[in-house]
Subunit: 479 residues, 2 copies
C-alpha cells in the first residue's frame, strides 16, 4: 500500500452507526464511501408514528446525501452490497437496478453489462453497519399476513392496512353485513409492539372516533401477544408492570405467556398456558423477532444464533483489524458479560468509537493499519438510560436507579427523540405536528396509498374459538 | 317515492366538485353518501410539489372522512363505482377489494360473496363528479415509460424516478462509466408540464447541486415538448411568451410545434417542422392529455371526444333531472360558446350550484324532483382569474384584463393556493415548509420508496440523433 495515497474508508449502511462514523470522519484525511440500499436515513424510533398515520415519511427520514453533503470527503452510493472479499479488500455491490431491468435487445452494451453486473469498491478500512430486520423464526411466509416494521415502506404498508380495515368494515356495515368490532393483533411485547398497540388503541378511541357512521371505531379491540411473562421484558419489573397498566388504561388487551404457533390470512393461532387459541384479526402486525442482516454471515467469521457477528473488544473482525462491525449487526458483551442491546445509542457510540480509531491510526501511519499498529482500546458503552413510549402521555423511563412512568417519562421520551431527530428543519416540523396532534387528537397522515387489497379480509369468524392442533410451536417472545 | 322519507343524495367522487357539493348540503334535510376510490381528497394543484420532493403527500391530501366528519348527514364510502342503473336509480359499486383477494377455500360465505360481488346504493339525486385522468391518445402502453400526474401514487412514482435517476447516474460515474448529463423530458406544455419542468430545473440547479461527488446535477437538461405553437396556450399570447422566457431563465429547453410520435423505455421519438428527432431521457414525464373518467360513458348519454358528458345548462343529464354531472367530467359551454376549462374553480362552483338546486327542491317538495318541479336556472361560471406557476418566483396570472408575470404573479399564486388548501393545519405546515424551502433551497421529501428499477435506464446514446421513420403520428398538444 502506498503511504501517500488517501486512506479509503468504506461504510456499509447509513443507520445510526454508519452515519455517525461518517460524520466523525468528516474532516479526517481519509476518503469515505457510504453505501446504502436506500437513499435515506430512517429515524427508526419514530417509524411507528408513520405506521399509525401520525407523521409523514418525509418527517422522519432524510436523504443520506443531504445529511452528509457538507463533508466533502464523503461520497454516497445507493447500492445493494452483495458480499466482501476480505483478502483483496473489496466490497461487492450488485448491478444497478435500472440495468437489470433493461430488456432492450438493441442495446448490446447494456446487455454486456447485465451479464457481468458486480462492481467492486476497494477499501483500506471497512465498517459494516448493516443493521437488523424482523425475523419470523423460520416462517417467512407469515410476513405477507403479518408485516413487520423496519423501513419506511413497512410503515406505509402497516398504515395502509390499518386504515383500510376501517374502510372495509364501514362498507360491510353500510351494506348491512354485520358490524362486529375490528380486531387488531400485535405480536411481540417489546418496544415496537408496545408502541404500535398503544398508538392503535389511541387512534381508535380518538382520531377515528367521529369519522364513521356505521361502525364505531372505539369498539375496536387491540390485542398484544407476548411470549414471555412481561411486556418490555428488558426493563426492571416495576417498569414492566407500569407499562402493562398504562397499556390496559389505553384499552389494549395484553396476553402474556402466549406463543404464536401459526399465522394465516387474518387468523393468528396461539398456544398459552391455558390451552390453544385462535383469533381473527383484521390486521396482524409483527414485532416479535430480530435477525441481523445476512451480510454478517458473508464476512466469513463466527456469528451467533441471531446472525450477529462476534467481534473483538475493539469491534474489529477476528484476524482483520481493518474491518469493523458495529450496531445491531455486532455481538459484543459489556463488562458484566451481558450482550449490548440493539438500540440507537449503542450503534451511535460504536460509530464514533471506530471513527476515532481510524482517525488516530491514519494520522499516525498515514496509511492502513499494520499488525504492528499501536494496541487499540476496547469499546465501552456509556448507558445514559432507556425510554419506551406507550402512547399519549404514557411511557416508561430508566436512568440508572431512577425509574419513571407516565406523563413525565413521556415528556422525557418526547424531548430526547425530537432532540436527536436528524436534520434541524425536521425537528421543528415534527414538534409542531405533535403539538397539534396532542391538542386536537388529529392524525395528519391518514392516507391509503397503493393497493386496496387486505389479505385475509373475509367473513368474520368466532373470536377465540378453539381450533384443531396448531402446526408447530414457535418461540415468539421479546425482540 | 315516499314524501316523508329522507332524500338520498349520492355523490360519486370527492374532488373539488364532489366535496363542495357535500359540504354545501352538509346541514340540509338530506342524507348524503360520498363514494370515492381513495380515502383522501387530493389537492391536485400542489401535486407537482410532491412529484418534485418539495412536499409530502400528507401535506396536500386529507382523509375525506375527516374533511366531512362534522356533517352528521354525510356518510363516506371508499369504493369503486362500476356503473349506474338510471331507471332503478342505483349506483353499482365493486366488491370489497379485500374480498376479491380472498382465496381461503374453507370460507364458503366469502366465496359466495365473491361470486355475487356488486352492491347497489340507491339515490334520489345523483351527482357524478368523477373527474379526469391523463390520456395517451390510444397509446396506453406509453404510461409505463412516461407516467402522468393525477394521483398521490403518480406523484410518488415520479419522485421515485427523478431521484433514482440521479442516484444511478452517480453510481455509473463513480464506476468510471461516463458522466453524460442527465436528460429529463416533460411531454406537454400545459400548466402541469410547465410546473414540472420549471421545478425540475430548479432542484437540479439548487437542491441537489451540492450533494453529488461524481456528477454535477446542474448540468442536467430539462426538455419541455409542446405540440402547439406556445406553452400555456390557454393564456393570452403575452403571458404565454412571458412563461416561455421564465422557463428559459430557469434553464428549461422548450421545444414547441413538436409532436411526440412514440415513447420507448428511456427514448422519446418526435416529429417537428424541421424533421424527426429522437431523444434519450433518464426520465420521461407525461403531461400532455386529459381524458374524462370512463364513468361518463356509463351514464348512457352523449359524450364528447374527450369523454365528457354533454349536460343541460343546469348540469343535469338530458332526460334525468335527478342526475347531475359536474367538474372535469362535464362538458358545458359558457355564454360565449367556449367550453368551460377543467380547473378547480369551475368544479367548485358547480358543486355548490348543484347543492343549492337540490336543497331548494328538497325543501319545496320534501322529496325527489318531478318533471313539474320549478324551472331551474342555468349554471354560470364566475371567472375570478387564472394563475399558472413555473418555479421559484416565476408564474403568470390573468385577472380579467390585468396580466401579471414573475414574482408578483408567483406571490398571488402562492397566496391563492395556500388559502384554498383544504384543512387549516395543512395550510400552516405547508406555509412553513415553503418558507423554509424558499430561503434554504432545500427539498424536504427527497425519499425514494418502492422499487429501485428505472425503465429504460441503459447506456446513454447520442442525443437528438435522427432515427428511422417513427411509427405513427400522434396529436400531442396542450391539455
Amino acid at each position: 500500500m502506498n503511504g501517500k495515497a488517501t486512506t479509503r474508508v468504506v461504510i456499509v449502511g447509513a443507520g445510526f452507526g454508519g452515519l455517525n462514523a461518517a460524520q466523525a470522519l468528516g474532516n479526517a484525511p481519509v476518503s469515505i464511501t457510504v453505501i446504502d440500499r436506500q437513499n435515506h436515513h430512517t429515524f427508526q424510533p419514530l417509524l411507528y408514528q408513520v405506521a399509525t398515520a401520525g407523521l409523514s415519511p418525509g418527517e422522519i427520514a432524510a436523504p443520506i446525501r443531504s445529511i452528509l453533503h457538507r463533508h466533502k470527503n464523503v461520497e454516497v452510493l445507493m447500492a445493494e452490497v452483495t458480499g466482501f472479499d476480505l483478502e483483496r479488500r473489496v466490497v461487492r455491490i450488485a448491478a444497478q437496478s435500472g440495468e437489470a431491468q433493461c430488456n432492450d435487445v438493441r442495446n448490446h452494451e447494456a446487455q454486456d453489462y447485465l451479464e457481468n453486473p458486480a462492481q467492486e469498491i476497494p477499501y483500506d478500512y471497512l465498517i459494516v453497519a448493516a443493521g437488523a430486520s424482523h425475523a419470523y423464526f423460520g416462517h417467512d411466509e407469515w410476513e405477507t399476513f403479518a408485516p413487520g416494521l423496519k423501513t419506511v415502506e413497512d410503515a406505509l404498508e402497516i398504515r395502509r392496512r390499518v386504515l383500510l380495515a376501517f374502510e372495509l368494515a364501514e362498507r360491510r356495515a353500510a351494506a348491512g353485513e354485520g358490524s362486529d368490532p375490528l380486531n387488531f393483533v400485535v405480536v411481540g411485547g417489546g418496544p415496537t409492539g408496545v408502541e404500535l398497540a398503544g398508538t392503535l388503541a389511541e387512534i381508535c378511541r380518538h382520531a377515528l372516533a367521529q369519522d364513521f357512521r356505521c361502525i364505531d371505531p372505539r369498539r375496536a379491540r387491540i390485542h398484544l401477544i407476548e411470549g414471555g411473562l412481561h411486556v418490555l421484558p428488558a426493563y426492571p419489573e416495576d417498569l414492566s408492570r407500569s407499562a402493562l397498566e398504562q397499556l390496559q388504561r389505553l384499552g389494549v388487551e395484553v396476553l402474556t405467556s402466549t406463543m404464536v404457533t401459526n399465522v394465516e390470512p387474518g387468523v393468528v393461532h396461539m398456544r398459552a398456558t391455558n390451552g390453544d387459541k385462535t383469533m381473527n384479526a383484521a390486521v396482524i402486525l409483527w414485532a416479535a423477532g430480530v435477525a441481523a442482516s445476512p451480510l454478517g454471515k458473508k464476512l466469513g467469521v463466527p456469528i451467533d444464533r441471531a446472525g450477529r457477528v462476534l467481534v473483538n473488544p475493539d469491534l474489529s473482525l477476528p484476524g482483520h483489524p481493518e474491518v469493523f462491525v458495529i450496531g445491531d449487526l455486532a455481538a459484543l458483551k459489556d463488562s458484566s458479560g451481558k450482550l449490548l442491546p440493539g438500540v440507537a445509542p449503542v450503534a451511535l457510540q460504536q460509530g464514533k468509537f471506530v471513527a476515532k480509531l481510524i482517525r488516530r491510526e491514519t494520522e499516525l501511519a498515514g496509511t492502513a493499519p499494520h499488525s504492528e499498529a499501536a494496541p487499540r482500546p476496547a469499546f465501552h458503552y456509556h448507558d445514559k438510560g432507556s425510554l419506551a413510549t406507550i402512547g399519549r402521555s404514557a411511557a416508561i423511563a430508566q436512568f440508572g436507579k431512577i425509574h419513571i412512568s407516565g406523563f413525565m417519562a413521556w415528556l422525557a421520551w418526547l424531548f430526547v427523540h425530537i432532540f436527536f431527530l436528524i436534520g434541524f428543519r425536521n425537528r421543528i416540523l415534527v414538534f409542531i405536528q405533535w403539538a397539534w396532534s396532542y391538542f386536537t387528537y388529529e392524525r395528519s397522515a391518514r392516507l391509503i396509498t397503493g393497493s386496496t387489497n387486505l389479505p385475509g379480509w373475509n367473513e368474520p369468524r368466532a373470536l377465540n374459538a378453539a381450533e384443531g392442533e396448531p402446526e408447530e410451536m414457535s418461540a415468539v417472545s421479546r425482540k
